[in-house]
Assembly symmetry: C2
């Protein structure tokens, strides 16, 4: 089963050197989550042959233009391409007003149910749940209200060992085994131990998205142990003072967060327009956290089960 | 002196087959006018090495997303790239509200004077004037309030024939000659006829932009005799009924407008996403108006003086 992150845009406020505004597409099995939606996101989706109407939900971290200005165009295209299934958008206060006014002046009544859910709260907060996944938001410290997101698979069932289970077994017993229970007879006596008939569940994977933020160790408890961690890295260490003043992070600081959070892999991005060559971002980060990769347009990061 | 139109986007509502949302850049000598600004316009400007801060004014025809959704991102980048000179934007009612709300939520106070001028009126209307140019707006008939624009060079001065003018001539007499007057002595007697010392003025060039509109011969009087005419052509003749219902035009109808308006050259664009191959648009139009060209991303059309 798939758990893959596609980078659609890795740049920051001014799109230079082919680095587009921020957008990530996370695919968990058949579910597609778009995370931030900078200008040109719909063009990137087309470029990589990713059907926009397969997106189930959109998560907007904050209302700086480089993180959401592609949204109204994407919604409009979804409408024109005949979307009927609902679209849920999680976003900071204000986005509803922005989209409503744009739809009003374009005289557009969209063809699907658009559900806008306003992000709030200053702690970890469950915002979305399916039978197999959860999404939590948590606050980031930026110049405007800003949230990060954690996408997790729920704990999975134990897997049946087909070579060991009795030939004639009831469905209800399969369900018991998958949930970790032993099989018992009418009197409650164990006739099969679960561990003898099953394998452990496959791994439940996770992705944390830390959008624009100043270096803030308070987030470590929220993202502890994630498989994939995206953390912004707008500047190199040499510009730590500017990073701090503008509420951004350096690559070294992103690596410090990843290390302290015991992340399995760190992806850095949101490179300032001042840097043409971004290789130094990785070189700097790996000194602190070895498993660091650069966010680059079109690159895909998958987590095995 | 330059009079060139660069096509930055030729597509319609859904950007497909590499056809971006509408945007044209008109360069008249040192003045740069951006006409419509669909999503991704700032990326196109970069692609063609056109500095966004050299743009003097922006003209937005109407508030359908494919004609203006790149604007807030462009303004934001102009701000971040240190623009100080004022920017004038001519746009339908509502744009000011849309931009204001976006700047409010991104907590941005832009670094330059942004002057928003609201388009109004149901006839030809002078909206912008410089010592050498005029811009008029005129109403188009679309599903939302929509305007076209005509950019004209003012009549130019006669040109001095350097081989014929007397060696010792006063500046004031040069000015008289350029304005078309003869040179006289103190008693008012003609001593040099203007036509003997000057050449006729160079041609004053013009460009008319007819954005989204149903086929509407009422516009012919506004655009009569223009050198370059852009007219939308969303559909082929076979879809004339859909064109009419959606307040768009076919390529044949665009050619009929160009012919009736005695335009020198017609550029068609805004092709519907249903057409992958657009060559038929030109084939159809040239049957009615020979001097027809396709708007294609990156193509430049210049008018000689």
């Amino acid at each position: 089963m798939t758990f893959c992150l596609k980078i659609l845009g890795s740049g920051s406020s001014v799109p230079v050197y082919g680095r587009l505004h921020t957008a990530h597409l996370l695919t968990i099995n058949n579910t597609r989550y778009l995370i931030d939606c900078g200008e040109g996101t719909q063009l990137s989706l087309m470029k990589y042959h990713l059907k926009q109407n397969r997106i189930n939900a959109i998560f907007i971290s904050h209302l700086h233009g480089d993180h959401y200005l592609g949204l109204t165009g994407l919604i409009s295209s979804m409408h024109l391409l005949g979307r009927h299934k609902p679209l849920i958008i999680f976003a900071p206060p204000g986005l509803s007003e922005i989209i409503s006014i744009q739809l009003k002046y374009s005289n557009t009544v969209i063809s699907f149910d658009l559900r806008l859910i306003v992000l709030t709260g200053n702690r970890l907060h469950l915002i979305h749940e399916t039978p197999t996944q959860t999404v939590h938001s948590f606050p980031l410290d930026h110049r405007v209200p800003c949230w990060g997101f954690i996408f997790r698979e729920k704990p999975k069932s134990r897997r049946i060992n087909k070579e060991k289970i009795p030939e004639k077994i009831l469905i209800r017993d399969i369900i018991r085994l998958k949930s970790g229970k032993d099989l018992t007879d009418h009197s409650g006596r164990v006739i099969y131990k679960n561990k003898d008939l099953t394998f452990p569940p496959k791994k439940s994977r996770s992705y944390a998205y830390c959008s624009d933020t100043v270096y803030d160790p308070r987030i470590i408890s929220y993202i502890n142990g994630v498989d994939l961690l995206y953390h912004e890295s707008t500047f190199l260490k040499e510009k730590e003072d500017i990073a701090s003043k503008t509420y951004h992070t350096t690559s070294e600081q992103a690596a410090m967060i990843a290390k302290a959070a015991n992340a399995k892999k760190l992806i850095i991005g949101h490179y300032s327009a001042r840097y043409k060559d971004i290789s130094e971002f990785r070189s700097e980060a790996v000194k602190t956290f070895g498993e660091t990769e650069l966010a680059l347009e079109g690159k895909t990061f998958c987590v095995e089960e």
